[in-house]
């Protein structure tokens, strides 16, 4: 079924919160899924995979330990949403360009929206590279993709190289249209989102608007 971008973002934000993320990062997760959907990429599906993999893992094990040298997590691998948020928060640092290397990282496709955010913040095109994938976003959020295949949707990669300030041509503009979301993916995200809803009860029902007229 097709879903509006608003629905995709809202469901993904709630699912991320349901998976245990703090609200601020959950907001980023919703935006990331929407961003990928706008580019015709399977944002909700990749996010569902990530959230299920990480929902029992502590933040401290998924975040970069130090930012000098290669970014690595204390645990097995970096969460792309946390690494991506850290990257975009530091966009100012890369105004004149820069290269960042991430160690083992889950679902690197979810770094792409934050690379877009860095491009927006710096006005420079940003390239992500892992395996044979080369993924470039320009400052107007156009996208150029090379080496797409199964590696694009890789669940785990040993290294991601991020280059800020690359020359770029042939970026394809985003296209804001409703996107298909697989029923199974939707069910998995709904299950996580459901954790943010309080159980129905008579007392709760009375606390809704219109209960006491």
């Amino acid at each position: 079924m097709y879903y509006s971008l608003n629905e995709i973002e809202s469901l993904c934000r709630k699912a991320a919160r349901g998976a245990g993320m703090h609200w601020g990062l959950a907001e980023e997760a919703g935006k990331a899924a929407r961003w990928l959907a706008v580019h015709g990429l399977p944002g909700p599906a990749v996010l569902a995979d990530l959230l299920e993999r990480h929902c029992e893992v502590a933040y401290g094990d998924l975040a970069p330990m130090a930012l000098d040298g290669v970014w690595r997590a204390r645990g097995e691998n970096l969460c792309p949403l946390i690494a991506g948020a850290t990257l975009t928060d530091r966009a100012e640092t890369y105004r004149a360009g820069g290269v960042i290397t991430l160690g083992p990282t889950c679902h690197p496709l979810l770094l792409a929206p934050q690379a877009g955010s860095v491009a927006l913040g710096t006005g420079l095109a940003v390239t992500l590279e892992w395996d044979d994938v080369r993924f470039t976003v320009d400052a107007s959020q156009g996208l150029a993709l090379a080496g797409a295949g199964t590696a694009l949707l890789a669940a785990m990669v040993a290294q991601v190289r991020i280059v800020v300030g690359v020359d770029v041509a042939g970026c394809r503009a985003p296209h804001a249209r409703p996107q298909p979301v697989d029923a199974e993916v939707r069910r998995r995200l709904e299950a996580l989102a459901h954790r943010t809803y309080a159980p129905a009860s008579e007392a709760s029902r009375l606390s809704g608007a219109g209960a006491k007229e």
Binding site: L5, E7, A85, A198, A200, A203, S204, S207, G208
Partner: protein, 567 residues
């Protein structure tokens, strides 16, 4: 070249962004219903009833189409036969008297069939990105039947009843922007005629009003074809559309800080421009006096059963009488007359009266005010990114300046954090429940307490290294990411944040609802509890055939001669 308007300083956010004041706002020239009608008149939109297939019981389909210079939009209406026991205005209702969708273009029979399978189910159905709005409405049972019975008997309805209720149907939800498959904001942005906040929703409601009036005349004719008559034009105008609004609307203003800022900024800028005028011309003074008298009629007709609002409406009536007396004494001669009047009001009128005056002051000055309506949208994605280069010390200083009120609250005191905003699994209804009640609601809390969250972040900021960047702070404190984003929006957008505790025991959610509804252009606020308000939209508004530059502006205050006795 655009002239530079003189200004006095804008009212400060500390004054404006208080719930007690936001809960006293009135519609103004910048309200979205008024902006829409202004545009419809300026562009000579044509509206027609392009389909009417409704039976004698009032069941069937109707379509109303608005033709703008470039595109057409249709309201597709499904009229149902609803058993009275199922009539509920709550979000958790599952059936309604009528359901609607506003869509691009004119629907063919196949499209109507698709919509008929979905729109009557509302949240449980699906619409597509050619649809812009999904809505439903229930009848005002007593007045609806009174009007049908009167018309069937060849009589006009009682005008007192019409004035008291003000509508035949009330909408209980009007969903737009991407809900249930509808077109996203990005798509709406390509529809120039509907460019602006809630424009599509306002058009849908305007067309629903036409439907409700056609329906009573249709049912009267079906009941008594020989004797039935139509509504007299003057009475017809007195029907608006009601609306019942609950808690779902309150989170919206907190969740859209830059949009809230832009609405407030437009209104405050308009006020500052008028206050800065060196003199008031005779025609402008006459317009103000005339509308002041009509605002008194409006206040006299405003009925509410809510004790708090009752006191406020009584104060408003006294305020307006006092305002007339003050003007009789001092007039509007001398320099900066409007500024002097506003400052007098600050010292002498209730907040309800002050805010009514603000709206009235904007009325004589379309050239100073109306253009600001173009500044009321927000490019929210642009303000989403966090500036991680800000230092911890800068963040702390900004926080202390903007959230000083919150730092004075002891959030460990249960009364200061009494409420939890949450979403129930029951039809995802937004609710407000007790933090310390029997049910554990805190795990489900929505991020709708910026004051508390700012205070929590402050505790961590003051013990962090001042020269560290916000980026570094957030890597160690991911729980503050939401709040850092809000703080940075509030730094750039002074009216982004409500400067009151949104979870304290004194919270009245109706204050937040009223603020938003006033920007829609609603009138006759009638709270049914502290979290539920009924209002009227488009009461007195011209019908499509009557729309012109004058009528599009001159409808929201009732005419002087319709004054009925004060309840």
């Amino acid at each position: 070249m655009t002239p530079l308007y003189p200004q006095v300083p804008l009212r400060s956010p500390e004054t404006v962004m208080r719930l007690s004041r936001m809960g006293a706002f009135h519609q103004s020239r910048l309200s979205f219903m008024r902006v829409l009608l202004r545009r419809m008149a300026a562009e000579s939109w044509r509206v027609e009833r392009s389909r009417w297939e409704v039976d004698g019981r009032g069941v069937g389909v109707a379509v109303y189409t608005a033709h703008t210079p470039t595109r057409s939009y249709s309201l597709v209406c499904f009229a149902h036969d609803l058993p009275p026991s199922m009539r509920s205005d709550r979000v958790i209702a599952t059936a309604w008297d009528a359901t609607f969708t506003l869509r691009h273009g004119i629907p063919d029979t196949e499209t109507i069939k698709r919509l008929a399978d979905n729109v009557p189910h509302q949240e449980a159905g699906r619409i597509s990105d050619t649809e812009l709005v999904l809505a439903r409405a229930n009848r005002s049972v007593r007045l609806f039947e009174h009007v049908v019975a009167s018309l069937a008997a060849g009589r006009q309805p009682e005008t007192d009843e019409v004035a008291r209720v003000g509508y035949l149907m009330r909408t209980t939800a009007v969903y737009g922007a991407g809900k249930f498959g509808a077109a996203d904001r990005e798509v709406l942005g390509t529809h120039e005629a509907l460019d602006g906040p809630f424009r599509a929703e306002m058009l849908a409601v305007y067309l629903i009003r036409l439907f409700s009036l056609d329906m009573v005349e249709h049912l009267a004719r079906a009941r008594a074809p020989d004797t039935a008559t139509l509504l007299a034009p003057a009475i017809r105008r007195r029907f608006g559309i009601g609306n019942a609004t609950g808690l779902g609307m309150a989170p919206f203003l907190i969740n859209h800080p830059t949009l809230l800022n832009n609405w407030m900024m437009a209104r405050e800028t308009a006020l500052a421009r008028v206050r800065a005028l060196p003199t008031a011309e005779p025609a402008e003074r006459d317009r103000f006096h005339s509308l002041l008298r009509r605002a008194m009629v409006n206040a006299a007709e405003w009925s509410t059963g809510h004790p708090l609002q009752l006191v406020r409406v009584e104060a408003l009536r006294e305020d307006l009488a006092q305002l007339v007396a003050h003007l009789d004494g001092t007039g509007l001669a001398g320099s900066r007359p409007w500024d002097r009047l506003y400052r007098w009001a600050e010292d002498n009128l209730s907040v309800e009266g002050q805010e009514q005056l603000v709206s009235l002051l904007l009325e004589p000055y379309p050239h100073l005010v109306d253009g600001l309506a173009d500044c009321m949208s927000a490019d929210e994605p642009r303000t989403f990114r966090i500036d991680g280069a800000m230092t911890v010390d800068e963040a702390r200083a900004h926080l202390e300046a903007i959230y000083d009120w919150a730092l004075e609250i002891d959030f460990d005191d249960p009364s200061a954090c009494q409420h939890v905003w949450y979403v129930s699994e029951e039809k995802l209804e937004p609710r407000l429940g007790p933090r310390f009640g029997e049910e554990a609601l805190e795990p489900y809390e929505q991020p709708l307490a910026p004051g508390r969250d700012a205070a929590r972040m402050h505790r961590d900021l003051v013990v962090s290294w001042p020269q560290d960047s916000v980026a570094g702070f957030l890597l160690d404190h991911p729980q503050h990411r939401h709040m850092v984003r809000r703080l940075q929006m509030a730094v750039r957008h002074p009216y982004a944040e409500i400067r009151d505790n949104t979870i304290g025991e004194d919270l009245l959610p109706i204050d937040i609802l009223r603020c938003k509804l006033s920007f829609f252009g609603a009138t006759r606020f009638d709270p049914r509890s502290d979290r539920w308000v009924q209002i009227v939209m488009y009461q007195g508004a011209p019908f499509p055939a009557e729309l012109d530059a004058d009528s599009a502006e001159d409808w929201i205050y009732p005419p002087e001669e319709t004054a009925c006795t004060t309840p």
